[in-house]
Amino acid sequence: MNAWRLRLQQLWRGAGTALRAARGGLLVSVLIVGLVGMAAAIAAMIETSRQNAVIAQLADGRDVAVDPAAAPDALLLARHHFLIVHDQLDEAQIFAEIAAPRASPHIRALLLYNLGNARVRQAFGYIETADLDRAASAIGLAKANYRQALGIEPQNWNLKHNLDVAQRLVRDLPRGSASEEDDPPPGEKAKPLWSDLPGLPRGLP
Protein backbone atom coordinates (compact mmCIF):
# COMPACT_ATOMS: atom_id res chain seq x y z
CA MET A 1 0.00 0.00 0.00
CA ASN A 2 2.66 2.43 1.12
CA ALA A 3 5.00 1.32 -1.60
CA TRP A 4 2.28 2.02 -4.15
CA ARG A 5 1.67 5.47 -2.76
CA LEU A 6 5.38 6.21 -2.85
CA ARG A 7 5.57 5.06 -6.43
CA LEU A 8 2.60 7.21 -7.37
CA GLN A 9 4.15 10.24 -5.66
CA GLN A 10 7.38 9.64 -7.56
CA LEU A 11 5.51 9.39 -10.83
CA TRP A 12 3.59 12.57 -10.02
CA ARG A 13 6.77 14.43 -9.19
CA GLY A 14 8.48 13.11 -12.30
CA ALA A 15 5.58 14.27 -14.46
CA GLY A 16 5.68 17.69 -12.77
CA THR A 17 9.40 18.03 -13.41
CA ALA A 18 9.04 16.97 -17.04
CA LEU A 19 6.22 19.46 -17.53
CA ARG A 20 8.23 22.27 -15.97
CA ALA A 21 11.20 21.39 -18.16
CA ALA A 22 8.95 21.42 -21.25
CA ARG A 23 7.28 24.77 -20.37
CA GLY A 24 9.25 26.74 -22.94
CA GLY A 25 8.54 24.32 -25.79
CA LEU A 26 4.86 24.06 -24.87
CA LEU A 27 4.47 27.82 -24.80
CA VAL A 28 6.15 28.13 -28.19
CA SER A 29 3.78 25.52 -29.66
CA VAL A 30 0.73 27.30 -28.25
CA LEU A 31 2.05 30.58 -29.64
CA ILE A 32 2.44 29.01 -33.08
CA VAL A 33 -1.12 27.65 -32.91
CA GLY A 34 -2.38 31.10 -31.94
CA LEU A 35 -0.50 32.76 -34.79
CA VAL A 36 -1.75 30.22 -37.32
CA GLY A 37 -5.31 30.79 -36.05
CA MET A 38 -4.86 34.53 -36.48
CA ALA A 39 -3.56 34.04 -40.01
CA ALA A 40 -6.51 31.78 -40.91
CA ALA A 41 -9.04 34.23 -39.50
CA ILE A 42 -7.45 37.17 -41.29
CA ALA A 43 -7.39 35.19 -44.56
CA ALA A 44 -11.09 34.34 -44.11
CA MET A 45 -11.94 38.00 -43.47
CA ILE A 46 -9.99 39.15 -46.51
CA GLU A 47 -11.76 36.55 -48.63
CA THR A 48 -15.14 37.68 -47.28
CA SER A 49 -14.49 41.32 -48.09
CA ARG A 50 -13.22 40.36 -51.54
CA GLN A 51 -16.46 38.45 -52.21
CA ASN A 52 -18.53 41.34 -50.92
CA ALA A 53 -16.64 43.73 -53.18
CA VAL A 54 -17.37 41.51 -56.20
CA ILE A 55 -21.04 41.25 -55.22
CA ALA A 56 -21.30 45.02 -54.86
CA GLN A 57 -19.60 45.60 -58.23
CA LEU A 58 -21.89 43.15 -60.02
CA ALA A 59 -24.94 44.72 -58.36
CA ASP A 60 -23.61 48.08 -59.56
CA GLY A 61 -23.61 46.84 -63.11
CA ARG A 62 -19.88 46.40 -63.53
CA ASP A 63 -19.00 42.99 -64.92
CA VAL A 64 -16.56 40.87 -62.95
CA ALA A 65 -15.64 37.45 -64.25
CA VAL A 66 -16.78 34.66 -61.95
CA ASP A 67 -15.86 31.07 -62.66
CA PRO A 68 -19.07 29.06 -62.34
CA ALA A 69 -17.06 25.89 -61.76
CA ALA A 70 -15.10 27.21 -58.78
CA ALA A 71 -16.67 30.32 -57.26
CA PRO A 72 -18.44 30.31 -53.89
CA ASP A 73 -22.23 30.30 -53.76
CA ALA A 74 -22.82 34.00 -53.11
CA LEU A 75 -20.76 34.97 -56.17
CA LEU A 76 -22.60 32.45 -58.34
CA LEU A 77 -25.93 34.09 -57.60
CA ALA A 78 -24.52 37.62 -58.04
CA ARG A 79 -22.91 36.96 -61.42
CA HIS A 80 -25.89 34.92 -62.65
CA HIS A 81 -28.20 37.80 -61.80
CA PHE A 82 -25.86 40.22 -63.56
CA LEU A 83 -26.10 38.12 -66.74
CA ILE A 84 -29.89 38.04 -66.48
CA VAL A 85 -30.23 41.77 -65.89
CA HIS A 86 -27.99 42.45 -68.88
CA ASP A 87 -30.09 40.32 -71.23
CA GLN A 88 -27.57 37.52 -71.54
CA LEU A 89 -30.12 34.83 -70.86
CA ASP A 90 -28.36 32.06 -72.79
CA GLU A 91 -25.11 32.73 -70.95
CA ALA A 92 -27.05 32.72 -67.69
CA GLN A 93 -28.58 29.37 -68.60
CA ILE A 94 -25.15 27.86 -69.32
CA PHE A 95 -23.72 29.48 -66.20
CA ALA A 96 -26.45 27.93 -64.05
CA GLU A 97 -25.94 24.52 -65.60
CA ILE A 98 -22.21 24.56 -64.87
CA ALA A 99 -22.70 25.94 -61.37
CA ALA A 100 -25.63 23.73 -60.30
CA PRO A 101 -23.80 20.50 -59.40
CA ARG A 102 -21.62 22.16 -56.78
CA ALA A 103 -23.90 24.92 -55.54
CA SER A 104 -25.85 24.39 -52.34
CA PRO A 105 -29.50 23.32 -52.84
CA HIS A 106 -30.76 26.75 -51.78
CA ILE A 107 -28.58 28.56 -54.32
CA ARG A 108 -29.52 26.00 -56.98
CA ALA A 109 -33.20 26.74 -56.37
CA LEU A 110 -32.55 30.50 -56.52
CA LEU A 111 -30.61 30.22 -59.80
CA LEU A 112 -33.54 28.34 -61.32
CA TYR A 113 -35.99 30.85 -59.84
CA ASN A 114 -34.16 33.80 -61.39
CA LEU A 115 -33.94 31.98 -64.72
CA GLY A 116 -37.68 31.33 -64.61
CA ASN A 117 -38.39 34.98 -63.81
CA ALA A 118 -36.21 36.06 -66.72
CA ARG A 119 -38.09 33.73 -69.07
CA VAL A 120 -41.47 35.07 -67.93
CA ARG A 121 -40.29 38.64 -68.46
CA GLN A 122 -39.04 37.61 -71.88
CA ALA A 123 -42.48 36.19 -72.58
CA PHE A 124 -44.11 39.47 -71.56
CA GLY A 125 -41.95 41.15 -74.17
CA TYR A 126 -42.99 38.66 -76.84
CA ILE A 127 -46.66 39.13 -75.91
CA GLU A 128 -46.35 42.85 -76.45
CA THR A 129 -45.12 42.23 -79.96
CA ALA A 130 -47.87 39.64 -80.37
CA ASP A 131 -45.33 36.86 -80.86
CA LEU A 132 -47.42 34.32 -78.99
CA ASP A 133 -45.58 31.18 -80.11
CA ARG A 134 -42.29 32.36 -78.70
CA ALA A 135 -44.03 33.67 -75.60
CA ALA A 136 -45.56 30.24 -75.00
CA SER A 137 -42.23 28.46 -75.37
CA ALA A 138 -40.54 30.94 -73.02
CA ILE A 139 -43.30 30.33 -70.47
CA GLY A 140 -42.82 26.59 -70.91
CA LEU A 141 -39.12 26.95 -70.05
CA ALA A 142 -39.98 29.15 -67.07
CA LYS A 143 -42.43 26.59 -65.74
CA ALA A 144 -39.81 23.85 -66.05
CA ASN A 145 -37.34 26.04 -64.11
CA TYR A 146 -39.85 26.82 -61.38
CA ARG A 147 -40.93 23.21 -61.09
CA GLN A 148 -37.37 21.97 -60.78
CA ALA A 149 -36.67 24.64 -58.17
CA LEU A 150 -39.80 23.70 -56.21
CA GLY A 151 -38.55 20.13 -56.22
CA ILE A 152 -35.52 21.42 -54.31
CA GLU A 153 -37.36 23.89 -52.07
CA PRO A 154 -41.04 22.95 -51.83
CA GLN A 155 -41.77 25.71 -49.32
CA ASN A 156 -40.28 28.67 -51.19
CA TRP A 157 -43.27 31.00 -51.48
CA ASN A 158 -41.91 33.29 -54.18
CA LEU A 159 -41.35 30.19 -56.30
CA LYS A 160 -44.93 29.05 -55.78
CA HIS A 161 -46.21 32.50 -56.57
CA ASN A 162 -44.30 32.92 -59.80
CA LEU A 163 -45.10 29.39 -60.96
CA ASP A 164 -48.74 30.37 -60.46
CA VAL A 165 -48.19 33.42 -62.67
CA ALA A 166 -46.53 31.36 -65.39
CA GLN A 167 -49.18 28.64 -65.20
CA ARG A 168 -51.99 31.12 -65.65
CA LEU A 169 -50.30 32.57 -68.72
CA VAL A 170 -50.01 29.16 -70.38
CA ARG A 171 -51.73 26.33 -68.58
CA ASP A 172 -50.26 22.88 -68.47
CA LEU A 173 -52.50 20.43 -70.26
CA PRO A 174 -52.57 16.65 -70.02
CA ARG A 175 -49.86 15.15 -72.19
CA GLY A 176 -50.94 13.04 -75.13
CA SER A 177 -53.88 10.78 -74.50
CA ALA A 178 -53.81 10.96 -70.75
CA SER A 179 -56.53 9.07 -68.97
CA GLU A 180 -59.63 11.00 -68.01
CA GLU A 181 -58.96 10.92 -64.32
CA ASP A 182 -55.77 12.87 -64.83
CA ASP A 183 -57.71 15.59 -66.56
CA PRO A 184 -58.56 18.55 -64.47
CA PRO A 185 -62.29 19.10 -64.58
CA PRO A 186 -63.22 20.65 -67.90
CA GLY A 187 -63.98 24.30 -68.16
CA GLU A 188 -60.50 25.60 -67.66
CA LYS A 189 -59.38 24.45 -71.03
CA ALA A 190 -62.11 26.55 -72.55
CA LYS A 191 -60.77 29.62 -70.82
CA PRO A 192 -58.90 31.90 -73.17
CA LEU A 193 -55.18 32.02 -72.67
CA TRP A 194 -53.78 35.23 -71.22
CA SER A 195 -57.01 35.58 -69.30
CA ASP A 196 -55.47 37.63 -66.54
CA LEU A 197 -52.97 39.60 -68.53
CA PRO A 198 -53.84 43.28 -68.86
CA GLY A 199 -53.32 45.23 -72.04
CA LEU A 200 -53.30 42.20 -74.32
CA PRO A 201 -53.96 42.44 -78.00
CA ARG A 202 -57.44 41.00 -78.39
CA GLY A 203 -58.75 38.92 -81.21
CA LEU A 204 -55.72 36.69 -81.45
CA PRO A 205 -55.96 32.94 -80.98
Binding site: A74, H81, Q167
Partner: protein
Protein backbone atom coordinates in the same frame (compact mmCIF):
# COMPACT_ATOMS: atom_id res chain seq x y z
CA UNK B 1 -51.03 -50.10 -66.77
CA UNK B 2 -53.53 -51.05 -64.11
CA UNK B 3 -56.36 -48.87 -62.91
CA UNK B 4 -54.53 -48.49 -59.65
CA UNK B 5 -51.46 -47.27 -61.47
CA UNK B 6 -53.47 -44.63 -63.35
CA UNK B 7 -55.02 -43.41 -60.11
CA UNK B 8 -51.58 -43.23 -58.53
CA UNK B 9 -50.18 -41.21 -61.39
CA UNK B 10 -53.15 -38.87 -61.22
CA UNK B 11 -52.67 -38.39 -57.47
CA UNK B 12 -48.99 -37.75 -58.02
CA UNK B 13 -49.80 -35.00 -60.48
CA UNK B 14 -52.27 -33.38 -58.10
CA UNK B 15 -49.90 -33.64 -55.17
CA UNK B 16 -48.26 -30.24 -55.62
CA UNK B 17 -51.66 -28.60 -55.82
CA UNK B 18 -52.85 -30.32 -52.68
CA UNK B 19 -49.66 -29.63 -50.78
CA UNK B 20 -49.63 -25.99 -51.71
CA UNK B 21 -53.16 -24.78 -51.19
CA UNK B 22 -51.70 -21.69 -49.59
CA UNK B 23 -50.97 -20.05 -52.94
CA UNK B 24 -54.66 -19.38 -53.37
CA UNK B 25 -55.13 -17.95 -49.87
CA UNK B 26 -51.66 -16.63 -49.20
CA UNK B 27 -50.64 -13.06 -49.67
CA UNK B 28 -52.39 -10.03 -48.39
CA UNK B 29 -53.88 -10.05 -44.89
CA UNK B 30 -54.69 -6.40 -44.80
CA UNK B 31 -53.62 -3.01 -46.19
CA UNK B 32 -54.14 0.14 -44.17
CA UNK B 33 -53.40 3.67 -45.25
CA UNK B 34 -52.10 6.54 -43.18
CA UNK B 35 -53.07 9.58 -45.20
CA UNK B 36 -52.13 13.23 -44.74
CA UNK B 37 -54.77 15.98 -44.48
CA UNK B 38 -56.91 16.13 -47.59
CA UNK B 39 -57.35 19.89 -47.90
CA UNK B 40 -55.39 23.11 -48.10
CA UNK B 41 -52.65 22.22 -50.57
CA UNK B 42 -50.87 24.90 -52.55
CA UNK B 43 -48.78 24.52 -55.65
CA UNK B 44 -45.46 22.87 -54.81
CA UNK B 45 -46.68 21.35 -51.54
CA UNK B 46 -45.71 17.77 -50.78
CA UNK B 47 -47.93 15.08 -49.32
CA UNK B 48 -46.70 11.98 -47.61
CA UNK B 49 -48.73 8.78 -47.64
CA UNK B 50 -47.94 5.60 -45.71
CA UNK B 51 -49.32 2.24 -46.79
CA UNK B 52 -49.05 -0.51 -44.15
CA UNK B 53 -49.28 -3.92 -45.80
CA UNK B 54 -49.36 -7.12 -43.74
CA UNK B 55 -48.63 -10.30 -45.66
CA UNK B 56 -47.99 -13.92 -44.72
CA UNK B 57 -44.45 -14.53 -43.45
CA UNK B 58 -43.43 -16.47 -46.57
CA UNK B 59 -44.86 -13.91 -48.93
CA UNK B 60 -43.01 -10.92 -50.33
CA UNK B 61 -43.83 -7.59 -51.87
CA UNK B 62 -42.49 -7.46 -55.42
CA UNK B 63 -40.16 -4.48 -55.48
CA UNK B 64 -40.63 -4.14 -59.23
CA UNK B 65 -44.31 -3.40 -58.75
CA UNK B 66 -43.65 -0.32 -56.64
CA UNK B 67 -44.18 3.02 -58.35
CA UNK B 68 -41.06 4.75 -59.59
CA UNK B 69 -40.22 8.31 -58.57
CA UNK B 70 -40.95 10.75 -61.35
CA UNK B 71 -43.91 12.44 -62.95
CA UNK B 72 -47.20 10.64 -62.22
CA UNK B 73 -49.08 12.98 -64.51
CA UNK B 74 -48.69 16.53 -65.69
CA UNK B 75 -49.49 18.10 -62.31
CA UNK B 76 -48.23 15.49 -59.89
CA UNK B 77 -44.72 14.21 -59.18
CA UNK B 78 -43.84 11.20 -57.10
CA UNK B 79 -40.81 12.45 -55.20
CA UNK B 80 -39.73 9.38 -53.29
CA UNK B 81 -40.70 5.79 -52.53
CA UNK B 82 -39.42 4.07 -49.44
CA UNK B 83 -40.15 0.58 -48.18
CA UNK B 84 -39.50 -0.65 -44.66
CA UNK B 85 -39.98 -4.25 -43.69
CA UNK B 86 -40.67 -5.59 -40.20
CA UNK B 87 -42.37 -8.52 -38.42
CA UNK B 88 -45.78 -8.06 -36.90
CA UNK B 89 -48.77 -10.19 -35.99
CA UNK B 90 -47.06 -13.37 -37.15
CA UNK B 91 -46.59 -11.98 -40.62
CA UNK B 92 -44.48 -9.57 -42.57
CA UNK B 93 -45.39 -5.89 -42.31
CA UNK B 94 -44.37 -3.55 -45.08
CA UNK B 95 -44.52 0.18 -44.70
CA UNK B 96 -44.49 1.88 -48.09
CA UNK B 97 -43.95 5.64 -47.85
CA UNK B 98 -44.92 7.66 -50.90
CA UNK B 99 -44.11 11.36 -51.11
CA UNK B 100 -45.95 13.29 -53.81
CA UNK B 101 -45.56 16.89 -54.88
CA UNK B 102 -48.51 18.81 -56.24
CA UNK B 103 -47.95 21.21 -59.13
CA UNK B 104 -51.55 21.94 -59.94
CA UNK B 105 -52.36 25.66 -60.07
CA UNK B 106 -56.08 25.93 -59.37
CA UNK B 107 -58.10 29.05 -60.02
CA UNK B 108 -60.48 28.11 -57.22
CA UNK B 109 -60.32 25.38 -54.55
CA UNK B 110 -60.42 22.17 -56.49
CA UNK B 111 -60.59 18.46 -55.74
CA UNK B 112 -57.64 16.52 -57.15
CA UNK B 113 -57.02 12.80 -57.04
CA UNK B 114 -53.77 10.90 -56.68
CA UNK B 115 -54.40 7.78 -58.78
CA UNK B 116 -54.46 4.31 -57.21
CA UNK B 117 -51.50 1.98 -57.64
CA UNK B 118 -51.58 -1.81 -57.83
CA UNK B 119 -48.87 -3.76 -56.00
CA UNK B 120 -47.78 -7.30 -56.77
CA UNK B 121 -47.22 -9.76 -53.94
CA UNK B 122 -45.64 -13.20 -54.19
CA UNK B 123 -49.10 -14.74 -54.14
CA UNK B 124 -51.79 -12.20 -54.72
CA UNK B 125 -51.95 -8.46 -55.09
CA UNK B 126 -52.87 -5.31 -53.25
CA UNK B 127 -53.94 -1.86 -54.32
CA UNK B 128 -52.85 1.42 -52.82
CA UNK B 129 -56.12 3.34 -53.09
CA UNK B 130 -56.60 6.68 -54.76
CA UNK B 131 -56.40 9.75 -52.57
CA UNK B 132 -58.42 12.87 -53.16
CA UNK B 133 -57.42 16.24 -51.75
CA UNK B 134 -58.37 19.87 -52.20
CA UNK B 135 -55.88 22.22 -53.79
CA UNK B 136 -56.24 25.95 -53.19
CA UNK B 137 -55.10 28.96 -55.22
CA UNK B 138 -52.54 31.38 -53.84
CA UNK B 139 -53.34 34.38 -56.00
CA UNK B 140 -56.41 36.39 -56.84
CA UNK B 141 -58.41 35.31 -59.83
CA UNK B 142 -58.05 38.72 -61.50
CA UNK B 143 -55.02 40.42 -59.94
CA UNK B 144 -55.12 43.21 -62.53
CA UNK B 145 -58.41 44.38 -61.07
CA UNK B 146 -56.66 45.26 -57.85
CA UNK B 147 -54.07 47.27 -59.71
CA UNK B 148 -51.41 44.72 -60.54
CA UNK B 149 -49.53 45.19 -63.77
CA UNK B 150 -47.06 43.18 -65.77
CA UNK B 151 -44.30 44.76 -63.69
CA UNK B 152 -45.75 43.56 -60.40
CA UNK B 153 -46.99 40.14 -61.45
CA UNK B 154 -43.74 38.43 -60.61
CA UNK B 155 -42.20 38.37 -57.20
CA UNK B 156 -38.74 39.98 -57.47
CA UNK B 157 -35.59 38.09 -58.36
CA UNK B 158 -33.41 36.61 -55.67
CA UNK B 159 -30.39 38.87 -55.13
CA UNK B 160 -27.07 37.78 -53.76
CA UNK B 161 -26.82 38.86 -50.14
CA UNK B 162 -23.52 40.18 -48.83
CA UNK B 163 -21.46 37.45 -47.23
CA UNK B 164 -21.11 37.59 -43.49
CA UNK B 165 -17.65 37.05 -42.07
CA UNK B 166 -19.18 34.51 -39.70
CA UNK B 167 -16.76 33.05 -37.18
CA UNK B 168 -13.68 34.89 -38.49
CA UNK B 169 -13.77 38.03 -36.27
CA UNK B 170 -14.36 35.91 -33.19
CA UNK B 171 -11.65 33.49 -34.25
CA UNK B 172 -9.28 36.37 -34.81
CA UNK B 173 -10.00 37.85 -31.38
CA UNK B 174 -9.63 34.49 -29.68
CA UNK B 175 -6.40 33.47 -31.40
CA UNK B 176 -4.93 36.95 -30.94
CA UNK B 177 -5.70 36.73 -27.22
CA UNK B 178 -4.11 33.28 -27.03
CA UNK B 179 -1.04 34.48 -28.94
CA UNK B 180 -0.62 37.58 -26.75
CA UNK B 181 -1.04 35.59 -23.56
CA UNK B 182 1.50 32.96 -24.60
CA UNK B 183 3.85 35.68 -25.74
CA UNK B 184 3.62 37.29 -22.29
CA UNK B 185 4.19 33.92 -20.61
CA UNK B 186 7.19 33.27 -22.86
CA UNK B 187 8.63 36.67 -22.00
CA UNK B 188 8.19 35.89 -18.34
CA UNK B 189 9.68 32.42 -18.75
CA UNK B 190 12.77 33.61 -20.61
CA UNK B 191 12.98 36.85 -18.59
CA UNK B 192 12.57 39.00 -21.70
CA UNK B 193 11.38 42.57 -21.55
CA UNK B 194 9.43 43.64 -19.46
CA UNK B 195 10.37 40.78 -17.15
CA UNK B 196 14.13 41.33 -17.67
CA UNK B 197 14.73 42.02 -13.97
CA UNK B 198 12.92 38.92 -12.80
CA UNK B 199 14.59 37.85 -9.48
CA UNK B 200 14.11 34.14 -10.32
CA UNK B 201 16.45 34.40 -13.31
CA UNK B 202 19.83 35.64 -11.92
CA UNK B 203 21.92 33.48 -14.25
CA UNK B 204 19.99 34.65 -17.28
CA UNK B 205 20.77 38.25 -16.38
CA UNK B 206 24.41 37.37 -15.72
CA UNK B 207 24.66 35.50 -19.04
CA UNK B 208 23.37 38.58 -20.87
CA UNK B 209 25.80 40.85 -19.11
CA UNK B 210 28.71 38.52 -19.85
CA UNK B 211 27.68 38.17 -23.49
CA UNK B 212 27.76 41.96 -23.77
CA UNK B 213 31.21 42.03 -22.19
CA UNK B 214 32.53 39.22 -24.38
CA UNK B 215 31.83 41.42 -27.39
CA UNK B 216 34.67 43.83 -26.53
CA UNK B 217 36.82 41.17 -24.90
CA UNK B 218 40.53 40.95 -24.03
CA UNK B 219 40.70 43.60 -21.34
CA UNK B 220 41.25 42.18 -17.87
CA UNK B 221 38.70 44.57 -16.46
CA UNK B 222 36.10 42.93 -18.65
CA UNK B 223 37.13 39.52 -17.44
CA UNK B 224 36.84 40.57 -13.84
CA UNK B 225 33.48 42.17 -14.49
CA UNK B 226 32.26 38.91 -16.05
CA UNK B 227 33.43 36.90 -13.05
CA UNK B 228 31.76 39.38 -10.73
CA UNK B 229 28.49 39.21 -12.64
CA UNK B 230 28.45 35.43 -12.31
CA UNK B 231 29.35 35.69 -8.62
CA UNK B 232 26.41 38.04 -8.02
CA UNK B 233 24.16 35.54 -9.84
CA UNK B 234 25.36 32.71 -7.58
CA UNK B 235 24.72 34.91 -4.56
CA UNK B 236 21.22 35.71 -5.76
CA UNK B 237 20.45 32.05 -6.47
CA UNK B 238 21.78 30.95 -3.05
CA UNK B 239 20.24 34.02 -1.35
CA UNK B 240 23.55 34.58 0.49
CA UNK B 241 27.16 35.23 -0.39
CA UNK B 242 28.46 32.03 -1.95
CA UNK B 243 32.10 31.04 -1.54
CA UNK B 244 34.04 28.19 -3.11
CA UNK B 245 33.62 26.01 -0.02
CA UNK B 246 29.83 26.36 -0.07
CA UNK B 247 29.43 25.00 -3.60
CA UNK B 248 28.61 21.44 -2.49
CA UNK B 249 25.88 22.65 -0.15
CA UNK B 250 24.52 24.93 -2.85
CA UNK B 251 24.35 22.08 -5.40
CA UNK B 252 22.60 19.85 -2.86
CA UNK B 253 19.96 22.55 -2.44
CA UNK B 254 19.70 23.26 -6.18
CA UNK B 255 20.09 19.90 -7.95
CA UNK B 256 19.20 21.46 -11.32
CA UNK B 257 22.72 22.95 -11.47
CA UNK B 258 24.46 19.67 -10.53
CA UNK B 259 25.23 18.83 -14.16
CA UNK B 260 27.68 21.76 -14.24
CA UNK B 261 29.45 20.78 -11.00
CA UNK B 262 32.96 20.51 -12.53
CA UNK B 263 32.65 23.79 -14.41
CA UNK B 264 31.36 25.60 -11.32
CA UNK B 265 34.32 24.35 -9.25
CA UNK B 266 36.66 25.47 -12.00
CA UNK B 267 34.99 28.88 -12.06
CA UNK B 268 35.45 29.43 -8.31
CA UNK B 269 39.06 28.32 -8.53
CA UNK B 270 39.72 30.62 -11.46
CA UNK B 271 38.03 33.51 -9.68
CA UNK B 272 40.19 33.00 -6.58
CA UNK B 273 43.32 33.00 -8.71
CA UNK B 274 42.37 36.17 -10.53
CA UNK B 275 41.22 38.19 -7.55
CA UNK B 276 43.62 36.91 -4.87
CA UNK B 277 46.43 35.03 -6.62
CA UNK B 278 47.22 37.79 -9.10
CA UNK B 279 47.20 35.31 -11.95
CA UNK B 280 47.49 36.87 -15.40
CA UNK B 281 46.65 33.76 -17.48
CA UNK B 282 43.36 32.65 -15.97
CA UNK B 283 42.38 28.99 -15.72
CA UNK B 284 39.05 29.67 -17.38
CA UNK B 285 38.94 31.87 -20.47
CA UNK B 286 36.15 34.42 -20.92
CA UNK B 287 34.15 32.38 -23.44
CA UNK B 288 34.17 29.39 -21.06
CA UNK B 289 32.66 31.67 -18.40
CA UNK B 290 30.10 32.77 -20.93
CA UNK B 291 29.23 29.15 -21.80
CA UNK B 292 28.88 28.28 -18.13
CA UNK B 293 26.56 31.24 -17.59
CA UNK B 294 24.42 30.18 -20.53
CA UNK B 295 24.22 26.59 -19.21
CA UNK B 296 23.25 27.78 -15.76
CA UNK B 297 20.71 30.12 -17.27
CA UNK B 298 19.08 27.18 -19.14
CA UNK B 299 19.22 25.10 -15.98
CA UNK B 300 17.44 27.70 -13.85
CA UNK B 301 14.53 27.74 -16.33
CA UNK B 302 13.73 24.12 -15.50
CA UNK B 303 13.00 24.99 -11.87
Amino acid sequence: MSARGVLGALLLQMLPLMLNPASAVAGLRWLRMEEPRNFGYFVGDTLQRHAYILVDPDDTLQAASLPKPGAVNYWLDLVSVEVRESRAQGGKLYRVTLVYQNFYVPLDPRKLTVPEWPLQLGGGSAVIPAFAFTASPIRELFPEKSGETVDTFLKPDARAALVSAGWAPHGLALSAAVALLTLALLAWHYAWWPFGARPDRPFTRAARKIAALAGNAVATANYRAALLALHRAFDAAAKRRLLADDVDGFLAQHPEFAACRAEIAKFFQSSREVFFGGSVAPLMPLDAVETLAAQLSAAERTR
